[in-house]
C-alpha cells in the first residue's frame, strides 16, 4: 500500500477524533432547539475537554491501576475502531486488521474495561452502572451481529471498506428490503449502545436512572476528558457504520484524487448534520423506558435484524 494511503488512514483517524465532539455538540444543539431552549455554542464540548484536561485528577484512595488505565484503553479502542470504519475513504490499509465482527469485539472490549473500572472503586453506583451496562451490552451484541449478517448476505463481505465498494460500484439502484429491516434494528441498537433515549438519558442527574453515566461518576480531570471523548467517538463511529451500511454515497474509492476526498469529507459532514438532527428528533419524541422494558426494546431490535436476514433469504436469493 502506498504512503498516501497510510497518510489518509491516519488522517481519517484524526478527523474522527476531531469531529466527534463537534457531532455531540450538534446533537445537543438540535435537542435544545426542539425543546425551545437556547443551546450552548457548537464547540462547547471542546471547551469542556480543555477544562477537564487542565484540572487535577482527584483519584479515590483505593483506586487501582485498572481504574487509572481504563480511560486510555477505552479511548484507544474507540480510536482503533475509527481507523477501521471507512467514513471518508475505502483506501484504508489498516482496515484489514479487523472486519465488522472484530469491530463488535473491539467495542465489547471498551465496554468491559469501562465496567471493570466502574467496579474498581467499590461504590454502590459504580457496580450498579457496570451491571446495567453489561446487561444492555449482552442484548445489543446479537442484534448488531445479525445486522452485520444481513449486510454480509447482501454484499458478500464483512470487511466494511469492501461493502462500500460493492455498493458504490453496482450499476443499478438496488433496494434491499432486508437492509430496511436491518436499518431499523441498527438505529435501535445505536440508541441503546450510546446511552441515548429511550434506553438511557445522557443528561440525567438522577443516579438511579443512570446506566452509562454512573460508570463515570468517579472519574475527574484528564481521565474524565478521555472517557467523554471516547463516548463521543463511539457515537461518531456508530453513525459512520450506519452510513457505510445504508448510505455509502460520497465515500471516496480506491485511487481517488484529493478533489474527490474533499467531496467525501463534505458528504460526511452533510450526513452527520442530518443524522444528528434525526437523532435529536428521535430522542425528543420518545420517553425513557423503564429499565426492564429495555430488554423488550432490544429483543425487538434483534428480531427485526433476524427478520431482515430471513427476508433476504426469501426475496433476494
Amino acid at each position: 500500500m502506498s504512503a498516501t494511503a497510510y497518510a489518509w488512514q491516519v488522517g481519517e483517524c484524526l478527523l474522527a477524533i476531531a469531529l466527534a465532539p463537534l457531532f455531540a455538540g450538534w446533537v445537543g444543539q438540535c435537542r435544545a432547539w426542539l425543546q425551545n431552549r437556547s443551546a450552548p455554542p457548537l464547540w462547547q464540548p471542546y471547551r469542556v475537554l480543555r477544562k477537564l484536561f487542565h484540572k487535577d485528577v482527584a483519584l479515590a484512595t483505593h483506586a487501582s491501576w485498572l481504574f487509572r488505565s481504563a480511560p486510555y484503553v477505552v479511548f484507544a479502542t474507540m480510536v482503533v475502531a475509527a481507523a477501521i470504519i471507512p467514513s471518508v475513504t475505502t483506501d484504508l490499509p489498516l482496515a484489514r486488521v479487523a472486519d465488522a465482527i472484530a469491530l463488535v469485539g473491539v467495542f465489547a472490549t471498551g465496554r468491559v474495561f469501562m465496567s471493570l473500572a466502574a467496579m474498581d472503586v467499590g461504590t454502590a453506583f459504580g457496580s450498579m452502572g457496570a451491571r446495567r451496562e453489561m446487561m444492555i451490552g449482552f442484548l445489543t451484541e446479537p442484534a448488531l451481529l445479525m445486522v452485520l449478517f444481513s449486510a454480509f448476505m447482501a454484499f458478500g463481505s464483512t470487511a466494511l471498506p469492501r461493502v462500500v465498494e460493492v455498493v458504490l460500484r453496482q450499476p443499478h439502484i438496488m433496494l434491499h428490503p432486508s437492509l430496511f429491516f436491518a436499518a431499523v434494528a441498527f438505529v435501535m441498537v445505536l440508541l441503546a449502545e450510546n446511552a441515548r433515549l429511550p434506553v438511557d438519558n445522557p443528561t440525567t442527574h438522577l443516579e438511579l436512572t443512570m446506566i452509562h453515566e454512573s460508570m463515570t461518576l468517579e472519574y475527574s480531570g484528564r481521565h474524565l476528558a478521555l472517557i467523554e471523548w471516547a463516548a463521543w467517538l463511539k457515537l461518531f463511529n456508530y453513525a459512520c457504520i450506519g452510513f457505510t451500511l445504508f448510505m455509502p454515497w460520497g465515500i471516496a474509492l480506491h485511487g481517488a484524487g484529493p478533489g474527490l476526498l474533499a467531496l467525501a469529507i463534505g458528504a460526511l459532514i452533510a450526513k452527520l448534520v442530518v443524522a444528528g438532527a434525526a437523532l435529536a428528533l428521535l430522542e425528543s419524541i420518545t420517553a425513557k423506558l423503564r429499565l426492564f422494558r429495555a430488554p423488550e426494546f432490544l429483543t425487538m431490535a434483534f428480531l427485526l435484524a433476524v427478520l431482515g436476514l430471513l427476508v433476504h433469504l426469501l426475496l433476494e436469493v
Binding site: 491501576w65 451491571r131 449482552f138 468517579e218 434483534f302 433476524v306
Partner: protein, 670 residues
C-alpha cells in the same frame, strides 16, 4: 527421516507416559513429605508434560503419517493398540502445554493437611495425567475403555481429597455415578461400531460398514456417552458439584483437560470411525451444543461461589465446542467440505483456548482461596491490591474467556461466526434459515460470558474488601506465579498468532474432512476464506491499541500535566459508604435472574416491611434435579426395593430358586 521421526515420537511418548507412572509411584516412597512430592516430583512431571506436548507437536508437522504400535499389554487376544496421528497429536499438545502449567502451579500449591497424604495425591495426579494421554493414544476399544475408567477413578480420588467433609464425598459419588453412566454409553457405542466382526480395534471399526439405523444408534450413544463426560445438558449435573469440591489444580485439570478428552472421543468416533451421516446428526449436536452454551452462561451469571461459576462457564464453553462440531457434521452431510473444515477448526481451537484460560482461572481461584480462605463471592473483594500478580494474570484469563480481541478466545469465536455466516448456502429449505440463527445464540452466549467474567473479576479482585480479614491476604508464591504466567502467555500467543493455530489445526481437518482452511499471507493475518471477505490480525490490533494508549499518555502529559490527588471516593457525596454497599454476587446477577426467571428454580425469602432485622435469601437450583434426576432416583430405589422381595432370607426360598432353575434348564435342554 520422517518415518524415523514418527516412530521415535510414538516411542518417546510411551516412554514419557511410563515416566509419569514411575513418578507417581516414587511419591509413595515418602508419602507425607510435601517437599519431596510437591516441590520435587511435580516440577519433573511438568517437564514430562512438556515432552508430551513436543511429541504431540511432531505429529502435527507437515509430512507426519499416522503411527501405530501394539503393546504387549492387555488381553491375550486383544493387545493394546496405540496410534499417533494429527488428531491425537493435537490433543496431546493441549494436554502437555496446559498440564505443564498446572503441574508447576500444583508444585507450589499443595500443602499438608488436605485430607489425603501428599504421596497418594501425587500418585493419583500422575495416574490421571497418564490415563488421559493413554485415552488419546488408544487405537482399540479395550485400551480406550481401560484408560477411560482409570481416568474416571483417579479423578474421583482426586475430587474427594478432602474426604472428611460429607458434601465433598457426596459430590464425588455423583461424579463417579455420571462417569459410569457415560462409560456405559461409550461401551455400547463401541459395541455397535464393531459391526459384527467382533474385532474391537479402531481399524476394524473404520472399515466396517454399518446399516444407517445402526450408525445413527452409534452416533447417539457416542453423543450421550461423551456428552455425559463433557458436561452437555442434561447430563451436566455432576460438573457444578465436582469441580468446586476438588482442589483447584484438580479442578483445572478436570475442566481444562478431561473435558477435552471427552471432546476428543466425540471427534474420533463421529469423524474417524463413523462415515458421513444424515444431516440430523449435525443438527442434533448443534442444538444440544447451543442449548448447553446458553444454559451454562445463564446459570453462571447467578452463582455466588467462585468455582461453581467457573464450572458453569466450562459447561458453556463445551456447549460452544459441540456446536462447532455439530455445524461441521451438518456441513459434511451436505458435502460442503471447506465449511466443515472451518467449523471444525473453530471447535478445535476453542478446545485449546479453553484448556488454557479455564485452567488459568481455576488456578487463580486456588491462589485466592489459599490466601483468603474464602470461596464465596460475597466475602471477597479488592484483592487486586493484595495479590497483584494473580489479579493481573486472572485479568488476562477473564478477558480471554469473554472473547475479547486481541486475545485467544476471540479467535475461535470469530472463526465460528464466520462459519455460521456461510450457512445460508446449505441446500435445504428450512435448514438454511434456522442454522444462521445459531450465530445469534453464539453471540448471545459470548456476550453473556462477558457479563459473567465482569461479575467474577469485579467481585473477587476489584472494589473494596468485603471482609476485614482480606487485608491479610498474602500474594502467591513464585511457583504458582510461574504456572499462571505460562498459561497466560499461551492465551496471549494464540491471540497474536491466530494463523499459526489455524495452520496447525489444518492438518487435522485435512485428515478428517479432506479440506483445509486457506493459508493466510503471514502468521499474523487470518483470512480463512477469501481475503477480501473477512480478515483479522491479532498482532496488528494489539500493536494499534498499545500505540494509541502510549501516544495518548505521552501527548496528554506533554500538553497538559499528569498530576494526581488522592481523595476519598466521591460516591455522589454520600459519606457513610461501607464495603458492604457494593454489589454482592447475587446483586450483580439480578438482571439475568430477572430476565431468565423461568429457567431457574428459585426459592426466595423476602423480608417484610415490619421486620426489625430484614433478611433476604435466595436459593437457585436447576430444574433438572427435580424434574429428571430425583424422580429417576426415586424410581430406581422403588424398583430396587421391589426386587429385594426376591431375597426372602429364608434358606428354603433360595433352595427353591436353585431347584426351579435346574428344572428349567432340564426342560430347555431336553
Amino acid at each position: 527421516m520422517n518415518g524415523i521421526a514418527s516412530t521415535t515420537a510414538l516411542t518417546a511418548l510411551l516412554g514419557l507416559i511410563a515416566a509419569w507412572l514411575v513418578l507417581g509411584a516414587l511419591g509413595l516412597a515418602r508419602p507425607n513429605s510435601i517437599r519431596w512430592v510437591a516441590r520435587t516430583l511435580f516440577p519433573v512431571g511438568a517437564l514430562i508434560a512438556l515432552g508430551v506436548a513436543g511429541a504431540g507437536a511432531v505429529a502435527l508437522t507437515a509430512h507426519f503419517s499416522a503411527q501405530t504400535a501394539v503393546l504387549p499389554l492387555g488381553l491375550p487376544s486383544l493387545h493394546f493398540h496405540v496410534r499417533l496421528d494429527a488428531l491425537s497429536g493435537f490433543f496431546l499438545l493441549l494436554l502437555g502445554i496446559a498440564g505443564a502449567g498446572i503441574s508447576v502451579f500444583a508444585a507450589g500449591y499443595f500443602r499438608a493437611g488436605e485430607g489425603t497424604a501428599p504421596g497418594m495425591m501425587g500418585l493419583q495426579y500422575h495416574l490421571f495425567l497418564a490415563s488421559m494421554a493413554l485415552v488419546i493414544l488408544a487405537d482399540d476399544a479395550y485400551m480406550f475403555m481401560v484408560a477411560w475408567e482409570t481416568m474416571a477413578l483417579s479423578s474421583y480420588f482426586l475430587v474427594v481429597t478432602q474426604h472428611r467433609l460429607p458434601e465433598i464425598r457426596r459430590a464425588g459419588f455423583l461424579y463417579l455415578l455420571m462417569a459410569h453412566v457415560g462409560a456405559l454409553g461409550i461401551l455400547l457405542c463401541f459395541g455397535v461400531l464393531q459391526g459384527g466382526s467382533w474385532l474391537m480395534t479402531f481399524d476394524a471399526m473404520r472399515g466396517a460398514t454399518l446399516a444407517p439405523a445402526w450408525a445413527s444408534a452409534a452416533f447417539v450413544l457416542a453423543l450421550l456417552g461423551f456428552g455425559a463426560k463433557a458436561g452437555l445438558v442434561p447430563l451436566h449435573v455432576w460438573l457444578p458439584e465436582a469441580h468446586p469440591a476438588a482442589p483447584s489444580p484438580v479442578s483445572a485439570m478436570m475442566s481444562g483437560l478431561m473435558l477435552k478428552v471427552a471432546v476428543y472421543g466425540m471427534l474420533r468416533v463421529s469423524w474417524d470411525l463413523l462415515h458421513a451421516g444424515p444431516w440430523w446428526w449435525g443438527l442434533l449436536t448443534l442444538g444440544v451444543g447451543l442449548g448447553t452454551a446458553m444454559y451454562g452462561a445463564i446459570f453462571a451469571a447467578v452463582q455466588t461461589d467462585m468455582k461453581r461459576l467457573l464450572a458453569y462457564s466450562s459447561i458453556e464453553n463445551i456447549g460452544l465446542i459441540f456446536a462447532g462440531i455439530g455445524l461441521a457434521l451438518l456441513c459434511r452431510s451436505f458435502d460442503m467440505r471447506l465449511l466443515a473444515a472451518l467449523a471444525l477448526a473453530a471447535a478445535l481451537i476453542h478446545s485449546f483456548n479453553h484448556a488454557l484460560f479455564k485452567s488459568l482461572l481455576f488456578l487463580a481461584t486456588g491462589s485466592v482461596m489459599h490466601a483468603t480462605g474464602e470461596r464465596s463471592l460475597g466475602k471477597l473483594g479488592g484483592l487486586i491490591r493484595y495479590m497483584p500478580w494473580v489479579a493481573g494474570l486472572a485479568l488476562i484469563g477473564s478477558l480471554a474467556i469473554a472473547g475479547l480481541p486481541p486475545l485467544n478466545g476471540f479467535v475461535s469465536e470469530w472463526l465460528l461466526l464466520q462459519a455460521f455466516l456461510q450457512t445460508p448456502q446449505i441446500p435445504h429449505a428450512f435448514l438454511n434459515m434456522i442454522v444462521p440463527l445459531g450465530a445469534a445464540i453464539v453471540s448471545l452466549t459470548a456476550a453473556l460470558a462477558g457479563y459473567v467474567m465482569v461479575k467474577f473479576y469485579g467481585v473477587v479482585f476489584l472494589g473494596q474488601p468485603r471482609e476485614r480479614a482480606l487485608e491479610q491476604a498474602h500474594p502467591a508464591g513464585w511457583l504458582e506465579r510461574t504456572g499462571l504466567s505460562w498459561l497466560a502467555l499461551g492465551c496471549v500467543l494464540v491471540g497474536v498468532f491466530p494463523q499459526v493455530a489455524l495452520d496447525v489445526v489444518g492438518r487435522i481437518t485435512g485428515q478428517l474432512v479432506g479440506a483445509t482452511v486457506q493459508r493466510g499471507p503471514s502468521p499474523w493475518w487470518m483470512t480463512p476464506l477469501a481475503s477480501n471477505q473477512a480478515s483479522y490480525s491479532g498482532l496488528w490490533l494489539w500493536a494499534g491499541l498499545v500505540l494509541v494508549v502510549a501516544a495518548t499518555f505521552v501527548l496528554v502529559r506533554r500538553f497538559y500535566h499528569g498530576r494526581v490527588r488522592r481523595t476519598p471516593a466521591w460516591d455522589c457525596g454520600y459519606r457513610w459508604q461501607t464495603p458492604r454497599m457494593q454489589d454482592s454476587a447475587e446483586g450483580f446477577g439480578q438482571p439475568i435472574r430477572h430476565l431468565f426467571g423461568p429457567v431457574f428454580r428459585m426459592q426466595r425469602e423476602l423480608p417484610l416491611p415490619s421486620d426489625p432485622q430484614p433478611q433476604y435469601r435466595v436459593q437457585i437450583e436447576e430444574h433438572f434435579w427435580h424434574a429428571l434426576y430425583l424422580p429417576l432416583s426415586r424410581f430406581v430405589l422403588r424398583t430396587a426395593e421391589r426386587v429385594t422381595i426376591l431375597q426372602g432370607g429364608r434358606l428354603a426360598t433360595y433352595l427353591l430358586y436353585s431347584f426351579l432353575t435346574l428344572i428349567l434348564l432340564l426342560v430347555w435342554v431336553l
